[in-house]
Symmetry: C2
Subunit: 174 residues, 2 copies
C-alpha cells in the first residue's frame, strides 16, 4: 500500500500499473489480485486511506462547523499527498468507467462530513430547505478545489474565510 | 493538430507522446519540434484551440452576462472535447512545472470573458469593490467545474441558474 501510494503521487494514476507496484513492493501480482479484484480497486483503496479523516464537527453553528471543515480542507489541499493524486484519479475516471464507479464512492466518503454539518444546519433552520445541500457543497468545496487545481492559487486562510462568507451570505437571502 | 487532439481525448495527456503524435499524423518529429519547442507547448496549443471561444457579452446587467457565459460553459462541459481533456492537463501540471506554466496561460484565456464581465459590473457598482473578482469566479465557474469533474453530476440548466442565483445573492449582502 505504501509503494502504491508513492508511485501514485510521483507518477499519477496512469503510471501506477500493477506490474510497477508488484515490482517496487516485492509483493507478487497474484497476492495483490487476491486482495483487490482490479487495479482501480487497489488504487482507490490507497487513496481512500490517504486523507486524514475528520469527524463532522457539531458546534451548533453552521459557520463554525464549516470553518473547521474548510480550514482542514485548505490545509490538506496544500500539503496532503492525496491532493496531488486526486487530479489523476479524476482524469482516469473520465476515460475508464470502472474508475468512475469506484471514484464515486471515494468522493462520497470525502464529502460525508460536509454533508452531515449542512444537513444538521438545514434541520436547525439555518438555511431554507429549498436550497440543495449539494449546491452549497459545490460553491464552498468547489471553490477551494478550483483554486487548488484550476486557478492554482495558494489557498490562504483569508481565502477560505472569504469563500465561506460569500457562501453563507448567499443563502441568507436566497 | 487534429491527431494530437484525438490522441489527447482518447488517452489523456500522459498517452500523447510526440512519438505517438508523429506516428499517427505522419508528420516527422523534427517538423513537429520546429513548430512547438516542447511537448507541453504542442499539447496546450491543441487545447487552446479546442474550446469554442466566446466574446464577453455586454448586456449591462451582470446577471444576464453571467447567465450567457455559464450556460455556454455548461454546454461545453457537457459535450466539448476539451472538457474531457482538461483533467489530464491539470493532472500533468501537478507533476510537470513546464506544463504548469503553459497551463496557467490556458486557464487565463479560458477565464478572460468571465473576468471582463465581472470587472465591468464591478465598475458599474453592481457589487462592492471589496469583493475580489477571483472569489466570484471560484464560486461560479468553480462550482460548475466541481460538478463536472468531482461530483460528476449532470450540469442542467436549473443547476446553472441555482449556482448563479446563490453567487449573485452572496454579494448583494456581502
Amino acid at each position: 500500500m505504501r509503494e502504491t501510494y508513492r508511485i501514485l503521487s510521483e507518477q499519477g494514476f496512469s503510471g501506477a500499473s500493477i506490474d510497477a507496484i508488484a515490482k517496487q513492493s516485492g509483493v507478487a501480482k497474484t497476492t495483490i489480485y487476491r486482495h483487490w479484484p482490479s487495479r482501480a480497486d487497489l488504487l482507490l483503496d490507497a487513496c481512500a486511506k490517504m486523507g486524514s479523516k475528520i469527524e463532522p464537527p457539531d458546534t451548533g453553528k453552521l459557520k463554525e462547523d464549516l470553518t473547521i471543515l474548510l480550514t482542514h480542507l485548505a490545509r490538506e489541499l496544500k500539503s496532503a499527498r492525496w491532493s496531488s493524486i486526486l487530479p489523476s484519479i479524476v482524469d482516469a475516471a473520465e476515460r475508464d468507467p470502472d474508475v468512475a464507479t469506484v471514484y464515486k464512492k471515494l468522493h462520497g466518503d470525502l464529502m460525508a462530513p460536509y454533508r452531515t454539518v449542512l444537513i444538521r444546519a438545514q434541520e436547525r433552520g439555518e438555511f431554507s430547505k429549498e436550497i440543495r445541500v449539494s449546491d452549497i457543497l459545490a460553491m464552498t468545496v468547489g471553490a477551494l478545489f478550483y483554486r487548488r487545481w484550476y486557478s492554482r492559487e495558494p489557498i490562504t486562510e483569508k481565502l477560505v474565510s472569504l469563500t465561506l462568507n460569500l457562501a453563507l451570505a448567499s443563502f441568507e437571502i436566497a
